[in-house]
């Protein structure tokens, strides 16, 4: 089945507009605690989730919003959940890291790596109860260092479970670059466990679709798990209020809040030799500079697909985008109005 680029773009655009609205609502203080958005990884979800059928399951990490949305969970239910409302998806009990949609067999967890065992378990249930169904795990590059995820690779292989393990590699785990935390090569790692594995440009929804389509066929046919290594960026840094991005966005605030303690440490009379201190300082500066890549439009999966659609039919594109913006705008108004009613 060939992917419908318009449909994929629509899913991504909706997710983007929705999460941007979430950002504003969070910024306004109406959502408490952390907020990890999926801005930048929409193409991975969009390339895979429309290929799922009833009975397929989803094991998500702390960035579950795009996947839940694309799987058909109502944006209002999500937003009300983030706002901690009794009418939210989970009655306000879970929050954005703990989204659960039982009728869609979709579950998330804020524990890094937990998507691995969860997907294996969903895969086991599929194998025993729902022939031809699969489960999909979404997790980051950082999670590939988590023992339970690695154990799950092995378990899925020896039990030939119908699982698609999808690594959304954005090159960072909070402030830790993947190249300093992930040994070797992830494709080789998955293959060494005896798993089929493919690498794909995670900004390109069509490429993800293709790769996922073959992977899903493999898994549905009972040939065991597949690993998909999809590269992407996180446009909003690790979470809203990301300290590294703040260095550019709010330099004065950052100087006082983050740089000043470092300067004090750097010049403290007792400590390491100057060479050591300089190396540490250089490392921090290097990280701050390299974080810019994360916000470069080149990495934006929407911009990867949009020009082609615009060339194809600019009018249709504008209409599509407008209608999605309208829809989300309505959801936001509704959510805010409900909040008013409650108070």
């Amino acid at each position: 089945m060939a992917p419908d680029a318009w449909m994929l773009y629509g899913l991504m655009y909706k997710s983007r507009v929705f999460e941007e609205a979430v950002r504003q609502i969070w910024q306004a203080g109406r959502i408490s605690g952390e907020m990890h958005l999926g801005l930048g990884e929409e193409a991975i979800a969009a390339g895979i989730i429309p290929q799922l059928v009833e009975g397929d399951a989803l094991a998500l990490d702390h960035r579950g919003t795009p996947a839940m949305l694309m799987r058909g969970v109502a944006p209002l239910a999500l937003l009300r959940e983030f706002m901690g409302s009794p009418d939210g998806l989970c009655a306000g009990m879970g929050g954005h890291m703990h989204l659960f949609a039982p009728e869609k067999l979709a579950a998330s967890s804020g524990i890094v790596g937990a998507a691995g065992p969860a997907a294996a378990g969903f895969g086991l249930a599929a194998q025993m109860l729902r022939p031809n169904c699969v489960s999909v795990a979404f997790f980051g590059d950082g999670a590939t260092s988590a023992g339970m995820l690695l154990e799950s690779f092995n378990l899925a292989v020896v039990w030939k479970l119908p699982v698609l393990f999808v690594c959304k590699d954005n090159d960072w785990a909070i402030t830790t670059p993947a190249e300093t935390a992930v040994g070797g090569n992830l494709l080789a790692r998955a293959r060494a466990f005896g798993m089929r594995a493919e690498e794909v440009d995670g900004r390109d929804a069509l490429a993800v679709w293709q790769a996922a389509s073959e992977a899903l066929r493999h898994a549905r046919a009972g040939n065991g798990p597949v690993f998909l290594w999809a590269h992407c960026i996180h446009l909003e840094g690790h979470f809203l209020g990301d300290g590294l991005l703040d260095m550019f966005r709010r330099p004065v605030y950052s100087l006082r809040k983050r740089v000043w303690p470092m300067v004090k440490g750097f010049f403290h009379p007792q400590g390491a030799a100057w060479g050591e201190r300089l190396a540490a300082a250089r490392q921090i500066v290097g990280q701050v500079l390299s974080i810019q890549n994360q916000t470069s439009p080149q990495g934006d999966p929407l911009l990867c697909l949009r020009p082609a659609l615009e060339r194809e039919n600019a009018r249709r594109l504008a209409d599509l985008e407008a209608s999605i913006r309208d829809e989300i705008q309505k959801v936001v108004s509704q959510a805010v109005a409900l909040e008013g009613n409650m108070a």
Binding site: G121, M128, M148, W159
Partner: protein, 336 residues
């Protein structure tokens, strides 16, 4: 009425549950060998060996239970749960709350626990109080074959996560596997009524959270569970000769805890002795103190628990675990 060993009873009840409900399956390390009867009866799909990946297979069991299966995941020894407890602490036990009450994890974790056979401190822990600390988790610790089977059936039917603990000293399969290794040159202080006994012809579920008064007593109430029940009964029999009447209440499950039964007995005798093979501090023995105090019962209180890492040396181990002598002395002191 049939007679059966403790370990047979558990497998028998589990077998009844598996026959009745095709969604039930058993998975864990070496379960095909350890529970060979079930393996040859239900085959490879429903009795599954796992790699030594407790975190993955326990986490998988949680998700499988969410997706329609009724897994019984065996963690060989509860000590090993330490590498996988995230699946219980942060996932299974929290699912119902997190999902706003819309999703459950009907999972049984079967695990062997307890000491008294010289296997050292990393293989003989009890940890039931440690697990019961987690809201949303039930913890079952049977002390007889009849209870073991009935509680297993109830655990299978409960619909939320249960840790089912099998004390090795009364479980002949485990004791043979880890304690004697087929030798007849070693003996352990195995309570016979725990190891073997009458069981119903067909298992009926025994609801969780119902303590059983194993012996009535007027001077002291001993609240205990697992092997502690038998140690307490023995101590009580000896105390009786000395004119001291000690009742024995078998909790059967740590969580839910039968607070009413505890309070009723303790308010009658005015003296509470907790006999708990789990570590003393911050666990079951303290919780029982809190329960009686909360109920406004004024009583004398003492506890006989495991206070330190369990020593390997058999003699030291016997001194460390709650034993008849310590229980007797504590009762006399409480009553004296």
């Amino acid at each position: 009425m049939r007679k059966m060993s403790f370990s047979e009873a558990i497998d028998d009840a589990l077998g009844q549950g598996m026959a009745a409900d095709p969604r039930v399956l058993l998975l864990g390390e070496d379960v095909q060998g350890l529970h060979g009867g079930l393996f040859l009866r239900f085959g490879r799909q429903r009795v599954r060996n796992t790699p030594i990946s407790e975190a993955a297979f326990l986490g998988a069991a949680v998700a499988a239970s969410m997706a329609g299966l009724r897994p019984v995941a065996e963690i060989m020894l509860v000590d090993f749960l330490a590498v996988a407890v995230d699946a219980l602490l942060n996932h299974a036990s929290k699912l119902e709350t997190f999902s706003g009450g819309r999703w459950q994890a009907p999972l049984v974790v079967r695990t062997a626990c307890g000491g008294g056979y010289g296997d050292g401190g990393q293989h003989e822990q009890s940890l039931w109080g440690w697990l019961a600390h987690i809201p949303g988790l039930s913890v079952v610790v049977p002390s007889t074959p009849a209870d073991a089977g009935g509680l297993m059936l109830a655990a299978l039917e409960l619909g939320s996560p249960v840790v089912f603990m099998e004390h090795k000293l009364i479980s002949s399969i485990w004791l043979d596997f880890l304690g004697s290794g087929g030798r007849d040159t070693v003996t352990f202080d195995v309570p016979p009524d725990g190891e073997h006994g009458r069981v119903p012809d067909r298992w009926q579920p025994i609801p969780l959270g119902q303590a059983l008064l194993r012996k009535k007593g007027s001077d002291v109430t001993i609240v205990t569970l697992g092997v502690g029940v038998h140690r307490a009964l023995q101590a009580s029999a000896e105390l009786e000769k000395q004119g001291l009447s000690a009742g024995v209440l078998d909790l059967r499950s740590v969580s839910p805890l039968d607070k009413a039964a505890v309070c009723q007995e303790v308010s009658r005798t005015g003296r509470l002795l907790v006999v708990d093979e789990d570590y003393e501090g911050f666990g079951l023995s303290g919780e029982l103190a809190a329960i009686v105090l909360e109920a406004g019962i004024s009583c004398k209180y003492a506890r006989v628990c495991t206070q330190t890492t369990i020593p390997f040396a058999r003699r030291l181990e016997d001194e460390t675990l709650p034993n008849v002598a310590r229980i007797g002395a504590a009762c006399r002191k409480l009553a004296g």
